[in-house]
């Protein structure tokens, strides 16, 4: 069935659920079911699918099909409970991002391979020196309240993000706009003259943690109760910690989308409950699945959607935080050499990863580094290095870890066992997940960390690899790396960007302060009928405008 044919009246969803349930429970005969489903406008093939369920086990599929036929898409993920938000400046959990991206639009979005696609912007062009950027907006776009989108809204959006009073979650993406001169060329064209060259502006505008365009009369006090975006879905209701309901935006600028009439996004804290919701036909899509849940999903009749990405579990060997166990580079290199990376790919990532080389930019990044060798496991050599560093009998260390992200604890346990052979006697200090990021991350000397993919290497590294980066978790500091990363982000010449990136990341890898054994794929789970017309990029807050159940 074509997406357009799938779309009926959303109110039919409940009625169909009721009919299916009545038939299952014997309150409705087959003939009566056909008559009433037909009266609802359900096609013969859809009725056939519902009646063709050969067993009770298939009834859940029928229930999901009935909901899908009425145009309802139900997505589940874990959130922040009562702290869930749909305020476009406060996004914290991926579920927030999914909701916000459904209500609002960005200037650009990305393909699965992180190629930018013009979205609210018809074009974004720069001068060769990457100092002047011109944004031309699509005409005919309206906010949900009927006001047209203009350049004034875009200017207001960035001014609001840069305003310290907003304390916007995504402000780090827009440092390049500080000190820029803004010109409104016409109601649909905006020009920024930057203080310094910045070649990554397009990526910054579309990054998953990037910006959503708000109206110039945006009211932050109503952000959670009456959001007004240009997005594919309009607000119906939002209960933090539970559910949000959105309905199709009939005036959406792209008439092909969205593909469903109603979007329900449900916050379910427990992952087994999320998988059960999928198995029983109560949900169509479970986002951000743990690798360990792949088998239960398949057993429950679901499908697993694998999107190649840069999901990282890393170990930070911080040389300058007491007790400074890893101050000596030889000790860090011995540690890196003790790790069996293939085993981590197989066990922690269930095979859905590529081997890492101790720098955080994997092969799914466009403009990423090339030619950096993978440290091979070599236990005799690791022992030699340890002895040379003054530890002929091995070394004791405490690694801080916890269930703070998917697979982190499994990862820490596997590494603990692997490095034992070289003489690293690692004790795991398992920290509660709810305070891991506030009390361990950026504070301890030896700990695990985790990251998801950003739109470009520079957006990620600006925060993590610069000597003064806000999230420089391994305390790696190098004037050379700072210089190369700056050169990379200031040129629009792709070959030069890759060259500078490779130089910088080779040096990071050699330092062995950031142990990155693998680059993992992002995994979602869905019913067999769920599909995206084009896969979203490996973002934990995937687009839903082109999803259908």
């Amino acid at each position: 069935m074509s997406p357009d044919n799938d779309q009926g009246d959303p109110a039919k969803g409940n009625e169909l659920d009721y009919l299916v349930e009545s038939m299952e429970r014997g309150r409705l005969t087959r003939d009566a079911f056909i008559a009433r489903a037909g009266a609802l406008g359900l096609s013969a093939s859809a009725i056939g699918a519902l009646l063709g369920t050969p067993s009770l086990a298939a009834a859940s599929t029928a229930r999901a099909s009935a909901r899908a036929a009425s145009g309802v898409l139900t997505v589940v993920d874990n959130g922040n409970g009562t702290a869930d938000t749909i305020d476009p400046h406060k996004q914290a959990a991926p579920i927030d991002g999914m909701r916000i991206t459904s209500l609002y639009d960005k200037l650009v979005i990305f393909t699965e391979k992180w190629q930018p696609v013009p979205w609210l912007a018809e074009s974004i062009e720069s001068t060769k020196d990457a100092k002047t950027w011109t944004i031309r907006l699509r005409k005919g776009v309206t906010f949900h309240d009927g006001q047209p989108l203009t350049a004034a809204d875009v200017k207001f959006t960035f001014d609001t993000i840069l305003d310290p009073k907003t304390a916007a979650a995504n402000v780090n993406n827009f440092g390049f706009l500080k000190g820029a001169v803004t010109q409104m060329l016409d109601p649909y064209t905006l020009r920024y003259k930057l203080a310094a060259p910045f070649a990554d502006a397009v990526a910054a505008f579309g990054d998953p943690s990037g910006t959503n365009i708000i109206s110039h009369n945006f009211d932050p006090t109503k952000a959670n109760t009456a959001p007004n975006g240009t997005g594919p879905f309009k607000f119906v209701s939002f209960n933090a910690g539970q559910s949000s309901v959105m309905t199709k935006n009939p005036n959406y600028w792209n008439p092909k989308y969205p593909l469903v009439n109603e979007l329900h996004i449900q916050d379910i804290p427990d992952e087994s409950a999320r998988v059960n919701a999928l198995g029983s036909g109560q949900a169509d899509l479970v986002t951000n699945l743990s690798y360990s849940q792949i088998t239960p999903v398949k057993a429950a009749g679901g499908q697993v959607v694998v999107i190649p990405g840069n999901i990282l579990n890393v170990i930070c060997l911080v040389p300058d935080v007491p007790p400074a166990t890893f101050k000596n580079k030889l000790v860090r290199q011995a540690f890196a050499m003790s790790i069996d990376r293939q085993q981590i790919v197989d066990v922690v990532y269930r095979g859905l990863a590529t081997i890492g080389n101790d720098q955080p930019i994997g092969p799914t990044y466009f403009n990423g580094p090339v030619g950096i060798p993978v440290p091979k496991r070599n236990i005799p050599r690791a022992k030699q290095l340890l002895a040379k560093a003054g530890y002929p009998n091995g070394i004791d260390a405490t690694m801080f870890t916890g269930a703070a992200s998917q697979g982190m604890l499994d990862f820490a346990q596997v590494v603990q066992q692997q490095v034992k052979a070289a003489g690293f006697r690692v004790k795991l200090h398992i920290w509660p997940p709810d305070s891991f990021w506030s009390d361990v991350w950026l504070k301890k000397d030896f700990y695990t960390s985790a990251w998801t993919q950003r739109a470009t290497p520079q957006l990620f590294l600006a925060e993590t690899a610069y000597s003064n980066g806000t999230y420089n978790e391994s305390h790696y500091r190098s004037a050379d790396v700072d210089k190369w990363l700056t050169k990379a982000v200031q040129t629009t010449d792709r070959a030069k960007r890759v060259k500078y990136m490779s130089l910088a990341m080779a040096k990071v890898s050699d330092s062995a302060q950031w142990i990155v054994p693998a680059y993992g794929a992002l995994v979602h789970a869905s019913t067999k009928s769920f599909k995206w017309t084009a896969l979203p990029p490996a973002s934990s807050a995937p687009y839903l405008y082109n999803a259908s159940a």
């Binding site: 299952e24 009770l56 086990a57 298939a58 009834a59 859940s60 229930r63 922040n80 409970g81 009562t82 702290a83 914290a92 959990a93 310290p164 009073k165 304390a167 916007a168 979650a169 402000v171 780090n172 943690s209 209701s237 209960n239 933090a240 910690g241 539970q242 559910s243 309901v245 449900q266 379910i268 804290p269 427990d270 087994s272 409950a273 999320r274 059960n276 919701a277 198995g279 029983s280 036909g281 109560q282 429950a300 509660p432 709810d434 305070s435 990021w437 506030s438 009390d439 991350w441 925060e463 806000t470 999230y471």
Partner: protein, 312 residues
């Protein structure tokens, strides 16, 4: 006098409990800002949120502020920006629906099982029942919940595997969603209450007044109904009452397994986000619920037992 004393005790208990809860929440690592702004929160964002919520004030000041809200008849303002009561109210209704559903499962089965096995202690039925109830009590309710969800929700697909409720509705309006979580919760309480009732029945049968009743020629159903049941049910009523109060927040595991939006999961959420006013508000309600239930069950027990009534 008794009621006044109880009320005074309740107020003191509430005061002490809320102060302890506030202090304990404060002692936990992290705060609401670090717990909710996530991995990538900048120092500036953390500072702005702390300033907005007044998190930088000393704990006793924040506690006094919350206490003042309570004195004015509300449960204070959650750090999420809305009143704690607006978060608690729908969850409380849902938890009441779940607790009542679980009790509806529990009481008839547990009391019948307890009395029958007590009357025939040592028989085949008693032995079989003992084995089953020990297994049921031993298995955590979330394990039973997962089994029920897999069996009835996915394999047979006759009931929803998760108990998600539509927006602005409660468990009372969706009884079908309650069946599996209520059955999982009841699986634990049935075993416990059945064993309590059985023990009480055996005690009553061995008592002097039952022997006296038999000597007076009272036998059969009349003896069971008027003399044995009436006395054997007294401990069961207290246990049932306490179970209702416990179920309001104690079914966290069941709520999580079935994604049921109850008060227990809200409390866990409050703890993980360090939302001290929300945690204190819920605990205040639970303290009141326990005290009220104790009071009601003791009153019923007194009414059922003329000797106890005479003592009071």
């Amino acid at each position: 006098m008794l009621i006044a004393r109880r009320l005074l005790f309740a107020l003191a208990a509430i005061f002490v409990a809320s102060a302890l809860i506030f202090a304990a929440t404060d002692a936990l690592p992290g705060d609401y800002a670090t717990a909710t702004l996530g991995h990538y929160a900048t120092a500036h964002r953390l500072a702005v949120l702390r300033q907005q919520l007044g998190l930088e004030r000393p704990m006793p000041v924040r506690y006094a502020s919350w206490l003042s809200d309570v004195a004015h008849g509300n449960l204070g303002k959650s750090y999420t920006g809305v009143t704690a009561w607006s978060l608690i109210r729908p969850r409380l209704i849902n938890s009441l629906a779940l607790a009542l559903a679980a009790i509806l499962f529990t009481v008839p089965i547990a009391v019948a099982l307890g009395v029958v096995t007590g009357l025939r202690a040592g028989g085949a039925l008693d032995n079989a029942s003992s084995l089953i109830t020990i297994v049921a009590v031993s298995l955590p309710e979330f394990v039973i919940g997962l089994l029920f969800a897999a069996l009835f929700g996915i394999l047979l697909s006759v009931l929803p595997a998760t108990s998600i409720l539509p927006p602005d509705s409660s468990g009372f309006s969706h009884p079908r969603q309650l069946l599996l979580p209520a059955a999982a919760a009841a699986s634990v309480t049935i075993g416990y209450i059945a064993r309590m009732t059985r023990a009480a029945t055996i005690d009553v049968i061995d008592s002097d007044y039952i022997r006296a009743a038999r000597l007076r020629g009272i036998t059969g159903n009349a003896l069971i109904r008027n003399h044995i049941l009436r006395n054997a049910l007294i401990p069961a009523i207290t246990v049932v009452g306490n179970n209702v109060a416990w179920m309001l927040t104690g079914l966290v595991a069941v709520e999580l397994v079935f994604a049921y939006p109850g008060l227990g999961s809200l409390l866990v959420n409050g703890i993980t986000t360090r939302d001290a006013p929300l945690i204190s508000g819920i605990c205040l309600l639970i303290t009141i619920a326990f005290i009220s239930v104790n009071f009601i069950t003791e009153t019923i027990a007194i009414l059922l037992n003329p000797r106890a009534a005479a003592q009071h």
